[in-house]
Amino acid sequence: MADQLSEAGLLLAVGMVVVFAFLTLLIGGIKSIEAFVRAFPSKEEQANNNKNKTQAKAATEINPDIVAAISTAVHVHRHTTR
């Protein structure tokens, strides 16, 4: 059992390191995607960006888009299988 315990300990260490490493890599991946999308915006997005800048001040208030997104998310997830 000591054998198994040390193996379990090792698994604990290796497992957590890998999980963190993997998801940290993914953080990098997401940031790269964001940078890529910002660098090569499609036309619509450029339009959106301009629009967003003008709306930036107003965004401290509750954004109706976000409210809609929340209620959609809640709705969708209520119907999730798990």
Binding site: V14, I27, E34
Partner: protein
Amino acid sequence: MDKLMTLWQSTALPHFEIGQVIMMLVGCVLLYLAIVKKFEPLLLIPIGFGALLTNIPLAGFSEEGGLLYYVYHVGIDTGVFPLLIFMGVGAMTDFSALIANPRMLLLGAAAQFGIFATLFGAIMLNAIPGFEFSLKDASAIAIIGGADGPTAIFLASKLAPELLGAIAVAAYSYMALVPIIQPPIMKALTSEEERKLPMAQLRIVSKKEKILFPMAVLMLTLIFLPSATPLVGMFCFGNLLKECGVVDRLSNTAQNELINTVTIFLGLAVGSKLSADKFLTVETLGILALGAVAFGIGTAAGVLMAKVMNKFSKDNINPLVGAAGVSAVPMAARVVNKVGLEANPHNFLLMHAMGPNVAGVLGSAVAAGILLALVG
């Protein structure tokens, strides 16, 4: 007279064993929890019903030639059903909250501590006479801490098929019990002030980012952790169907009829593993205990990680959202929201908790891949 004897022998009465009666009561309890308490009814109703059917003497539902026998061998033994569920869940999941705030992935990582710590615990249980969990068994049990039903079923079908029934029941039960298990842990580890912390609004995520995200996840997985690709790959496939916007008919089928059909049969097949000889063992008690421990540790690890991140971050991170890292989508995020509202009635944490919540799904799929690679 002869016919009457045959008929009597063909009733269940002379064949019932006490274990079967107990297992049928277990099935009824699952149905009760599902219907009256609304605990994960989509899975627990088929599982509970499957438990009833499989424990009937002579009906032969789970024996060769019986319906549940076929369903189990076609869907669970092969791992096909959990993968199809994952595809459907992928087609239902919106990663916006995570893409807007990718550091939340660290919370999804921290919560997997519950899995690996439980591995340790399962081996220690072997000190008690009656328990003899192999490392494979321990891994399949520990994944309960991932709070993700299909992942647990997939891993158990590969590593410890004889424990599958108990593991699946424990996984779904604890997922249903999130609103009861998590809040005390969350409150014990956070101060009133911390729970009141508001978080900065999330930015809007573009369609392109949402399309590239599943591709990035897939690429990282297949390069660094190919053993996790069955789960992660089907999840990303479902998500790509949803986000690409050009195959809505496939996406709709994946997240509706297909996942519903598979859910019905997955549940029945899991239920068919709740036979007395497999379930009424001391090991089941161990599994239930370890599952609860895994869940609790995962929650605590998520909350503590969020506290650490809050220290080092310039933007506020409410430590409560760490609890959502165990996954149990979307229940855990809703619990975070509820506990947050108790502290500050104007502080809606739901969207902020969705990030770690979906991160937890990826995290436990990754953890399953690691266990498959190292133990399987």
